[in-house]
Symmetry: C2
Subunit: 350 residues, 2 copies
């Protein structure tokens, strides 16, 4: 049982255990920035909890944060080393073991969202046990989750949904939470994936949950709150994804969102990795989400559309945002570009 | 990893490992027939694989099968003892341990669908190991399942769906499979729950699957088959259930049914255990299932309605069946009562 699941075993979601921070970001021997998305995400969205970065000599990627040894990081207050890079297999190579052990010896816990368990790394569990340090695997399934009650909770909830996987649901939720907080609203980002959990410091790794408990896990994630509080929940999958629609529906029902935002990548034509499946229209996602979401929140409504316009010129992005908003008659914006359009999307979220 | 999951780790679903049978049905010390549903289900639907029953002296429930000791059962070919009773907590009481150990000593494996693991029963794992026998827990999650591909498979598929949980989806699927086989059709019952798996001798315990792999597990369950072959798949949950709709959707998408049958209990007004949720109408379930099922099978259609009229008079049941059929303009029947109405429902399944 990992840190994130431990909190559920102890029950009340109001007291979710936080991951130990500040973090030292570990970059391994990574030479491709595309594999360091977790580290960049932590720098951008949880910078206040990152003291610096640590990498093997072979690494050429950098977050721009101060480069520190584990000992230096610990001396200025770091409590954990976060594996901030991925590789194609999701495994932890033997070349990292010495560095990870150094972190334990410096007094840091290790946090990983990789497929391979930290406890499977030769020697690491023994070292952690000897040194009294924790190995925290964010892909370990929570235990003792409840099934969903379906009962209405107090407070407001926003959920990001999508036309597909991997097109900006996490960043949209983070940007909306930050935007609301900047407006003085009491808002909380709620994480459902490994990177999001590192950023938030807590959350539910939904992809590791046994299916009967998925909606129940989503209920625990956004507990009763003050009437004006807004939870902004990281979405998963898509109702139109042949592999993951069940995940999306369980999260929708458990989250009971008052408001949802549809995330979309205008350049995508098919479901990622499933060329046989055309991307649904934004309107189809809106309609289906309202139809299904009504079960646990009859007042559910769509606030607008979040577009991932990365790689477009400013002019092309602006045109796409305008045309999309007109087509569905709702605010549309690219939260990464911000601006007036994003402010109008935030208006619609309130 | 249990017997059922072992087959998936070994990959091709065509070669699903079968549970060891014939079975000896264990009734424990049960005095309430309501707790022996699994044993009765095995007697009724897999009678050819049950050699007899075995119970503690305190038990008053009987299946009517021959009462045998484990030694007697083994001597006439039994290969496993199946725990055919449940209790409120899903646990295995200390008073059963001697009997279970006797079964192992007689050369039988033990099969359980209870929440408590057989390996958690004091002394049982050691006895099984010493005797070279297997403890097969049907609630252990399969490992190494694939995610769903969404690719169309050959052969035909029927899925039972429902207005709620626990109203006859398993028995409807069993009755349809038996009815089709009686008509000379090459049909196979495909199990998704513990009792169904015992009856079929194989299957996927869907409630134990990690959510990302649920649709993939459903794909494995009904692999490519001859064009005229019909898989009749045991449904789970309901698209209108606040806790389990995600399970239902993953099973729907992975099963890619050509045909579905809606199961309903005319006496039920609310979702079981969730008084705040009204039961959906049969028509709502038909419409929602078609809308969502089209994603992986555009030709999906509803064959009709299976009504659970247990406890009604023959006259009241006939009237309910007639009125329901008229209301949705499709065949309706109670498969447990059979008759002409059920034959018409079978016609519509072909």
């Amino acid at each position: 049982m990992n840190e994130v699941s431990a909190k559920f075993a102890q029950a009340p979601a109001e007291s979710l255990t936080m991951l130990p921070s500040p973090y030292l970001l570990f970059l391994g021997d990574t030479v491709d920035a595309g594999f360091a998305k977790t580290a960049f995400g932590l720098r951008d969205w949880a910078g206040e909890r990152c003291v610096g970065e640590f990498a093997l000599p072979q690494a050429s990627v950098t977050t721009g944060l101060k480069r520190l040894t584990p000992q230096q990081a610990a001396s200025i207050g770091a409590r954990s080393l976060v594996i901030g890079v991925a590789n194609a297999g999701g495994f932890i190579p033997p070349s990292w073991i010495t560095a990870l052990t150094r972190a334990l010896e410096a007094g840091l816990d290790i946090i990983s969202g990789m497929h391979m368990r930290l406890t499977e790394v030769p020697g690491l569990a023994a070292a952690a046990s000897r040194l009294g340090r924790r190995l925290i695997d964010l892909r370990v399934a929570p235990t003792d989750l409840p099934t969903a009650s379906g009962l209405k909770r107090s407070g407001k909830r926003i959920l990001t949904v999508g036309t597909d996987c991997a097109l900006g649901k996490k960043y949209t939720a983070l940007a909306i939470a930050r935007g609301l907080i900047d407006r003085g609203i009491d808002a909380t980002f709620r994480a459902t994936g490994q990177t999001g959990i590192m950023i938030a410091g807590t959350g539910v790794p939904l992809d590791a949950v046994v299916i009967d408990f998925a909606a129940g896990a989503a209920e625990l994630l956004s507990p009763d709150a003050a009437p004006d509080h807004i939870d902004v929940i990281e979405g998963q999958g898509s109702l139109f994804h042949p592999s993951y629609a069940g995940v999306t529906l369980a999260l929708l029902h458990g989250s009971q969102p008052d408001i949802f935002v549809v995330c979309h990548n205008p350049n995508r034509r098919h479901i990622l990795g499933h060329e046989e499946f055309s991307l649904p229209t934004i309107q189809a996602v809106i309609d289906q989400t309202v139809t299904l979401g009504r079960l646990t929140n009859p007042a559910i409504r769509c606030a607008g559309v979040s577009l991932n316009t990365a790689g477009m010129s400013a002019q092309a992005a602006a045109a796409t945002i305008r045309d999309t908003g007109n087509a569905v008659d709702l605010p549309a914006a690219d939260p990464m570009r911000g601006g007036d359009t994003f402010e109008r999307l935030l208006d619609a979220c309130m």
